[in-house]
Amino acid sequence: MSDQRIAAPSSPDAGVRESLTPGDRVRSAAWTFLTAARTEQRAMQGNPLVLINGGFLPIALLVISVETRRPTSGRAAEIVVSVMLTALWACTIWTSGGVLRRERTYGTLASCVCGVASPTVILFGKSFGATLYGVGMTLATTLGTVLVLRLPVAVAQPFWIAVGLVIVVVSATTLGALMSCLFLLTRNGLIWSGALMYPVFVLGGLLLPPDVLPVWLRWAPQLLSLHWINEFLSGAIGGGLSFTPLSVAVLLTIVYGVLAWFTYRWSIDKARQRGTLDYA
C-alpha cells in the first residue's frame, strides 16, 4: 500500500504535464509567478531591511548630499534620481537578493526547487514581489524627503519617467534574482550582502559620476543597468531625453535574467549532487 502511494504521484503528474497545452503552461507559470510575488510581498511587510534601506537610507543620503551645499535645480534632480537608485541597490541586495538565502534559512529551499512548479519562475516571482515592495518604499521615502527639503525638482517628461520606473522594477528583479543565486553559493550570505553595497555605491556610476573614477575603472558603471537607468531618468526629468541608455538598460536586464537562470540551475544541480541543498 505504502509503495503504491509513493509511486503513484509521479506518473499522473507526468501525464498531466504532457497533456497541458502551451496556453495552460503559460497560465500556470503566470499563476505561480504571481503567487510567489504575493507571498514574498507579504514576507516583506515584516522585513525590517526594507524599512532600513528603502526608508532610512534615501533620507540619510539625500540630506547629506543636498544640505552640505544646496544644488541648483538641474543638479538637484540628478542627485534625487541617483539617491533613489542607490537606495534601491541597497534594498535589492537585502530583499530580492536574499530570497534564496531566506528560503534556506527557513528550510523551504528544498521544497521550492523540487516542487511541480518551475523553481526559476518561483525565484523570479519572489524577486519581483520583493523588488516591487522595495521600489515602492524607496520611491515614497525619496519623494517625501524631496518635499520636506523643498528641493527644486521639476519633471519634464512624466510618461518617460513612468517607463523608466517600470524598467527599474524589471531590472532590479533580474539583478536581485542573480544575486540571490550567487548568495546561495556561500554560507556567509549576510556578510557578503553587506560587502556588496559599497562597491556599487563607488563604481556604479550613480551618486559618483564615472568621470571621478580612475580611467582604468570607468568601464565598471557600464555593466550596471541602474547606471543607464539613472542617465535615462535624469534626462527625462531634465528634458534631455535619450533612448540609448534605456536600450542598454533593457539589454543588461536580459543578460542578468539569463545569467540568473543559468546560475540558479547550476547551483541547484550542484547542491543536489552533493546532497547539500539546505547547507549549500
Binding site: I52, L57, I59, T68
Partner: protein, 267 residues
C-alpha cells in the same frame, strides 16, 4: 586584603579573561577570517572612498578632506564596531542568555568582556582600511595628521559599541537584529557630522549631539586645525560612559523580564 578576598578577585579576573577568550572564539565563528578579509575590509575601504569622493562631488576639495576624516569614523563604527551586536544576538539565537544571567559573573560583564575582541579586531581592521583608502585617494598626508588623534577614534568606537549593545539588547525581541545596527548606522551617517558639517540642519545637530561619534569627530577636526578640542573629547567620553550605563540598564531590564516571564528567547 585577606587571602580569601585575593582568591575571589583572582577568580573574577580569570572568569572575565575566559569570557574575553570565549568572545575571541565566537568572533572567529561569526566572522570567519576569509569573510573579514574579503568582505569587511573592502567594505570599510570603499565606504571611506565613497564618502570622500562624494564630498568632492557635492561640495569641492575642502569637503573632500573633511569627508575623509568623517569616512574614517563611519568605517570604524558602522562597518567594523557594529559587529559587537552579534554578542547579544548570539545569546538570543542559541538560547544561552539564561546561563549568563544566572551565573556568578554579572551578565553585563560577560557581554562587555565578550565584546572586547570584536572591538580590538574592529580597530585593527580600521587601521588597515584607513591606510588602504588613504593610498587610493592620495590623502596619505591627511591620514598621517589623523594618527595622533587615534585615541579619540578609540573613544568613539567604545561609545558606539556600548550603545550598539544597549540598543540591540533592548530591542532584541522585535526582530531588531537587522534594525538596531542599521538604524544606528544611518543615524550616525546622517547626524554625526561625518559628512554633513555641524550647523547646517538644526534637527540633525540635535540628534547627533546625543549620539557617539559627533563630539569625537568635532574634537579631531578642531585638533587638526589647531583649535581647542578638549571639551568635545570630554563630551565624547561622557557619551561613551552614558552608553555603558545604558547597556547595563538594558541587560538588567531583559534579565528581569526573562526572570519574570520564565523565558529567554525574547520572541
Amino acid at each position: 586584603m585577606t587571602t580569601l578576598d585575593l582568591a575571589s578577585a583572582r577568580l573574577s579576573w580569570w572568569r572575565t579573561v575566559e569570557a574575553i577568550r570565549h568572545g575571541w572564539r565566537e568572533h572567529g565563528v561569526t566572522y570567519p577570517p576569509a569573510a573579514v578579509v574579503f568582505a569587511t575590509v573592502p567594505k570599510g575601504v570603499l565606504q571611506i572612498v565613497f564618502f570622500t569622493v562624494l564630498g568632492g562631488v557635492v561640495a569641492g576639495p575642502d569637503q573632500r578632506q573633511y569627508a575623509f576624516v568623517g569616512g574614517l569614523a563611519l568605517a570604524l563604527t558602522t562597518t567594523n564596531v557594529v559587529t559587537v551586536i552579534s554578542v547579544p544576538f548570539a545569546d538570543k539565537y542559541f538560547s544561552t542568555f539564561w546561563r549568563i544571567r544566572t551565573g556568578d559573573v554579572p551578565a553585563v560583564v560577560v557581554l562587555y568582556a565578550r565584546a572586547v575582541p570584536y572591538l580590538l579586531v574592529a580597530f585593527g581592521l580600521f587601521i588597515v582600511e584607513a591606510a588602504i583608502a588613504a593610498a587610493i585617494l592620495g590623502l596619505e598626508g591627511l591620514a598621517v595628521r589623523v594618527l595622533p588623534w587615534l585615541w579619540i577614534f578609540a573613544i568613539m568606537a567604545c561609545g558606539y559599541a556600548m550603545l550598539g549593545i544597549a540598543a540591540a539588547t533592548l530591542t532584541i525581541a522585535k526582530r531588531a537584529d537587522a534594525l538596531a545596527p542599521n538604524v544606528l548606522g544611518y543615524l550616525t551617517m546622517l547626524c554625526s557630522g561625518a559628512f554633513l558639517p555641524p550647523g547646517q540642519v538644526r534637527w540633525v545637530d540635535a540628534i547627533g549631539s546625543v549620539l557617539p561619534v559627533r563630539h569625537g569627530l568635532a574634537a579631531v577636526h578642531a585638533a587638526m586645525d589647531g583649535g581647542p578640542w578638549a571639551r568635545q573629547a570630554l563630551l565624547e567620553l561622557t557619551i561613551c560612559l552614558v552608553s555603558a550605563v545604558l547597556g547595563l540598564f538594558a541587560v538588567r531590564v531583559q534579565a528581569r523580564r526573562a526572570t519574570r516571564y520564565g523565558h529567554d528567547d525574547f520572541d
